[in-house]
Subunit: 254 residues, 2 copies
Amino acid sequence: MSPGSLRIVGLGPGDPRWITPEVATALAEASDLVGYAPYLARLAPRAGQRVHASDNRVELERARLALGLAREGRAVVVVSGGDPGVFAMAAAVFEAVEHGDPAWRALDITVAPGISAMQAAAARLGAPLGHDFCAISLSDNLKPWPLVAKRLRAAAEGDFVIALYNPASRSRAEPIHAAFAILRALKAGATPVVFARAIGRDDESVAITSLAAADPAHADMSTLVIIGSSETRLVERPGTPPFIYTPRGAGGPR
Amino acid sequence: MSPGSLRIVGLGPGDPRWITPEVATALAEASDLVGYAPYLARLAPRAGQRVHASDNRVELERARLALGLAREGRAVVVVSGGDPGVFAMAAAVFEAVEHGDPAWRALDITVAPGISAMQAAAARLGAPLGHDFCAISLSDNLKPWPLVAKRLRAAAEGDFVIALYNPASRSRAEPIHAAFAILRALKAGATPVVFARAIGRDDESVAITSLAAADPAHADMSTLVIIGSSETRLVERPGTPPFIYTPRGAGGPR
């Protein structure tokens, strides 16, 4: 049995020009591709590659499948969207390793980073993440809402720019409404808010508004929401949407 | 005068396999490359490309130079390390646009994201950013220390994983010591801490310790520091450093 390997890679948010050469090499060398079906559908597997597509919300099962294949000597690539280390498959794989077959700890397991949704959204807008920021997932199937609420309050009190992942799903719309209620109580109504949807895909769209005016129902499962700090600014432009950026320091330019 | 353009691109943290195809195309098409000298030194300019290298800490001057060249009709690329949108050149360019020549607002300005240092460091370690996290720059030449301190306290109170950028420079060692003092008063001594230095470069190194045991003097200007949440865990391995990851949810595996 040859030693297997497990590469956990990120495709970025949708545009193939965001797939790093490191990830492209891993994909080309894989014997087995494992992932959530829509991510695998973005790839063109070569002849002989086995493709193991799975549903959403079965991350641990998918991780265990991948680890088992690597243990059999296969060259396995686990495919994530975005960056596998940011609200994606890498944490699921290491959770499976910690609680699974002790032999899995000796496997050759590596992670190849990718462009995460907040970075792609920020690039489209200007530089909203140009200063201190937080990334918070509103998915509540894995953590209690009081912890999410505590983090939203802390993010507001620290005056961070806030990137909200997983603001809504087909089955739940409440978290994003509850999140906006918390933030509106703690931040200025004029704070810039962006709904960045499907960035890098054909149906990409960006909506710029304010915390007071934003309709949280605007966010669906393909949306990344960015809420500014007190310093985040719009730069108006003739005929096109404004740039949005957060200055590198407090107190104006120098 | 042909219309110029300005592309603000990120090379990632050092390994050329992290340069996205989007960034590689922008570099190939540029007439002028503008950036901090060590980043430009990582490139092999083609014949005819003009290279405008500058010192550190002159971001606004560099941004204005690039905007002026684009205004003259040049195809300008501003080169950042990491992701230009994360503690890098993009915010400086939009700050220059806001406060500069009104004609700059009509320029074709775009940002191409890159792999940021925290993502590369996380990939080497496992998945420490696998759940809600903050990114904070300790550089105090552009913001008052009380704001940094407030954000560190908020990050601890929200139990975020914390990525610290610019923990030290040649001229100042105090901020990282002050930051650790704040975090030690608010977080458990056993919290995992990582000093990730020069990731993706030949002299890459990673040191894993705890908040109680960490020596802040370990951080230099090439170091990215990651401090875990209360959930961040080590997975011990035979003969190699442990994996570090932050589970996707609170309350154990499911």
